[in-house]
Amino acid sequence: MVGVGESWRADKFHLLSAFWILPFLLAFKNNSMVGIELRQEERNFVGSLKEQGILDNNFDHVLDLRSTDNPRFVVEVISMFLNDADNCIAELNRHLNQPVINYARVINYAHQLKGSSSSIGGRQVNLACRELRYASDNMDRDRCFEAFNKLKDEYQILKSNINMIIQIERTIIASESRRRRRLLHP
């Protein structure tokens, strides 16, 4: 049978341990849980974009390449893609508005954008590029314009959505950076 004193010590230890664990759990929630919640938000957002056909599974491969030694990888790759894609769209616009269309150049830029959009998982942009490529192969001016207008629309949709992913990534990076600093300097 446990004496009154021993019972009191057990109760006191129970209270102290709960008190000790609580700040730890709160700190854990404030830093790591924010990162976890943001990652979940990102997954949900990417999932919805895949359901709409804007992204495909190739984007998951890009996310898989993220690591602790290069947390900014996804931001860098998306930024790189947008920079090159903006240039491709501008060049396509320029060449398609020439009095005499240089279809070889149009094919070149359409193929380039098709390749990079495929790597980033930009499904609709990839399909639109394919359509523009076919139209250029056939030197069909009207079909080229139609395909290019579709491409511009799909690219704007992709661009605005992956810019949002960049924002989420930057918030996650900032949150994880704060967490590491707190762990190093409690």
Partner: protein, 181 residues
């Protein structure tokens, strides 16, 4: 009893299944030393690891030949994640030039459509120069005729873009087992 939650937290944090632990491998200056367990843990699809404890060891270098910045970055990252020292060039001519300068690579990831010199021409020239590296064609082209032409130029293998970790591991597996693909 009251310390059980505390120890359960400690056990969780030190567990190999803790998603917050860094499972990335260590790069040993060109030497590839990786276990599929480690590689599987770095992947999101943790339930689809290949041969849990199998070790994969080699020393290889790679060259990425692609005119697109995004593709070069992704392919280089894939190689870096597997501890493979790598370089990049932007077209077939630069691939020829880098070999002419005396550099040699175990693995060349060759894009098909590039300005100045495409992958088919570059592959032919590299083989004519006596380069025996493993050359893997990587392209979005799926037309059998074009792929056949690319293979006949001297490729060891062809993979459709985008290149993934799984595709790259299968290429390295073949190199490890056969000495070449």
């Amino acid at each position: 009893m009251e310390i059980i939650p505390f120890f359960s937290i400690i056990l969780f944090l030190s567990s190999p299944k803790n998603p917050f632990l860094d499972h990335t491998h260590t790069h040993h200056s060109g030497k590839l030393e990786i276990s599929f367990m480690e590689f599987g843990a770095t992947s999101r699809k943790k339930n689809k690891m290949v041969n849990g404890n199998q070790k994969f060891r080699t020393e290889i270098t790679a060259l990425v030949v692609d005119d697109d910045t995004t593709n070069r970055t992704i392919h280089r990252r894939l190689l870096q994640n597997l501890g493979i020292e790598n370089q990049e060039v932007r077209n077939g001519k630069e691939a020829i030039d880098i070999h002419s300068s005396g550099r040699n690579f175990d693995l060349i990831l060759m894009d098909m459509d590039m300005p100045i010199m495409n992958g088919i021409e570059a592959t032919k020239q590299l083989r004519a120069m006596g380069i025996r590296s493993t050359i893997v064609g990587v392209s979005t082209r799926s037309m059998e005729e074009k792929v056949q032409e690319f293979m006949e130029a001297g490729l060891d293998d062809y993979q459709e873009k985008p290149l993934t970790s799984a595709k790259l591991i299968s290429i390295l597996h073949k190199m490890n087992h056969n000495g070449s693909v």
